[in-house]
Symmetry: C2
Subunit: 361 residues, 2 copies
């Protein structure tokens, strides 16, 4: 039996609280489906490590986790809410680039027992599954660049410049991933986020590559919207979207907005993929380290658990993925009276939910 | 009596249909409040002009409209839904830069009789006025830059680069406007949109200037959110926001998302301001030229009318502004049985609504 080596990085804040539940469910799935998983734990990429070492990552972090089959990540950011610069948050961005995780994949799906802040045009709530989209975000280049700088520092003439860089290599490979994904789904529908009417150099190039790629996927229905009106459509008619592909920045925005629309931002998962499997891919919940509730054992572990499901899917175990998502739905469905953490209006603790999902498997 | 000279540019599509109603209500307000308004009509900045002349604007457009006190604009973009590049849309961007309209101001307000796609956490709809925010967008620099280009064209190595440019002059002046505006409102609350954890050069600079400016406004309560989570907050708790200030791109996104949250994107107004009044400011509805319903006389003119109210406010007639907004609310309120265009579930025509608002004044 093949054994997949998983690097486990809990991070800080509630990351350390939801991780054990993510692992619990992974282990249960591994047993049930006969999957070989071996976990190595790492204590870096978190605030406590930063406090001790003055840096987020050890110098040899690439060697230490670069040979694993996947990285299972918790959350990082505690206790700073918004740091002045990226150093604290940088580790995630470093992983993405060093391990060429050029696809960021985030599902946004209406789940049973989770209230969406949106209603249909007639004022009624939507049914579970009625919104079901996948955001595919370019995860290595684009607007997140390190090129640029400041001039006339400290004077009235002060200015800053930062360059957005898009390469054909970088754009085409994420588009190809998105087109393949759309093709594999029943609706075969792909939406591209653009802003070619305002961002006059890079975004028209993005559109050009979308058109070129679309020619190779005649079976996929493609449309595109400017990012401004696209965010409006997300709140007005979210059920219209299937796969949505976007640049690094637009994808960052849409992949928070979409789970907010389904009410699942606290439980949504996220995959940072190197589809060629040359480097480990990283799986993490969308939520942050939530300093406000950290240390109380009441964080909702479903985002971590769902991220584990995405990991198994990527490792080749689609059945195990589907079973975990179904188990999550069983626990969330109010009809079953399962445990709910306070964010979902219940009184359960983190571990109660983890155990319930493992049992439902 | 001072006479304000208004340049009227209806544009194309439904722009030409809603403009007469905007003018009708302006004229009614001018009579009632004794305001001197003189209108000059211009036929450029629209698709028909482009078809005839191969360009959107005459060569001497600056001279022809630059001396006016304000520009009252309809909509442009018909019949192309998404053009390949900005040339078709460029006139608005050219006005903003040439006339240094560095503030883009967009109110998003829950109106009576207009259904918001959002509900409260308990599933109930929010009441009129419960969401009431003003988006202040930087309108001349930032991500909308013309610097950049393409390399290795047509090869596998092809890449594009585009530069975001923020200047202290440009950032400070829009922040100052936003802080003053927040100070003038009962809640005195300002939210700044950032993304300093990912856009590592320009956005930390933006944050730095926000902090510097905040020191001069101790009475204004300031917070900041990364743009990704901010869009999520807009759908989760839109009532929490008062004045929101953002860069050109982030402001573009938020000022479509916010009126989508209030259900008013079809009727929201927009002001492009040169607060120093060295150049004319421009007032236009948020909606586009709506090719799908153009020519049928059923477009909702309220965005145009509300934009006229913003124009009167900027020209110094706050009372007239308030009266028009109240008249709009009277017509929209289902209790009064006023005319409603099809977008609001009625059968009225564009002119019916314009007349009703003028009468309600
Ligand atoms: C048409 C387009 C260039 C414009 C913009 O992005 O500024 C529009 O979306 C707006 O918000 O006025
Ligand atoms: C923490 C931050 C740098 C990161 C990003 O912007 O990519 C986060 O928002 C995300 O989406 O994973």
């Amino acid at each position: 039996q093949r054994v997949h080596r998983i690097a486990v990085i809990p991070g800080d804040g509630i990351g350390t609280e939801v991780m054990p539940e993510g692992l619990r469910v992974l282990q249960a799935a591994a047993e049930r489906f006969g999957i070989g998983l071996a976990f190595d734990h790492f204590d870096f990429a978190c605030w406590p490590y930063y406090e001790r070492h003055g840096q987020m990552l050890p110098d040899d972090w690439r060697e230490r986790i670069g040979g694993h089959d996947a990285i299972f990540f918790g959350a990082v950011g505690w206790p700073a809410k918004i740091p002045d610069h990226v150093s604290l948050w940088g580790s995630l961005l470093q992983f993405r680039r060093a391990f060429d995780q050029y696809v960021n994949l985030r599902p946004a799906r209406l789940m049973p027992g989770v209230r969406s802040p949106l209603v249909r045009r007639d004022g009624t709530p939507r049914a579970p599954g009625e919104i079901d989209m996948l955001i595919v975000r370019e995860n290595t280049e684009g607007e997140y660049s390190s090129i640029g700088g400041r001039m006339f520092e400290g004077t009235e003439r002060e200015l800053v410049v930062q360059e957005t860089v898009m390469t054909r290599h970088g754009v085409d490979r994420v588009l190809r991933y998105a087109f393949e994904l759309a093709r594999s789904r029943p609706r075969k529908h792909l939406t591209s986020a653009t802003k070619s009417n305002g961002i006059a150099i890079t975004m028209p190039y993005w559109d050009e590559r979308v058109r070129a790629m679309a020619a190779a996927y005649p079976d996929v229905q493609v449309d595109q919207y400017h990012i401004d009106i696209l965010t409006a459509h997300f709140v007005q008619r979210p059920e219209a979207f299937d796969v949505v592909v976007a640049s690094n920045l637009f994808g960052d925005i849409l992949s928070d907005l979409a789970p907010a629309c389904t009410g699942t931002i606290g439980i949504a998962p996220s995959a940072n993929l190197n589809p060629e499997r040359r480097y480990p891919s990283l799986f993490e919940p969308v939520h942050g380290s939530a300093p406000d509730i950290a240390g109380r054992g009441i964080a909702n572990p479903i985002g971590q658990i769902w991220s584990g499901a995405l990991m198994l899917d990527f490792l080749g175990y689609r059945q195990a993925h589907d079973a975990i998502v179904r188990a999550i739905e069983v626990v969330l469905d109010p009809a079953n009276g399962g445990p709910r953490t306070p964010d979902l209006g219940g009184h359960a603790r983190t571990a109660d939910v983890g155990r319930a999902v493992a049992d439902a498997l």
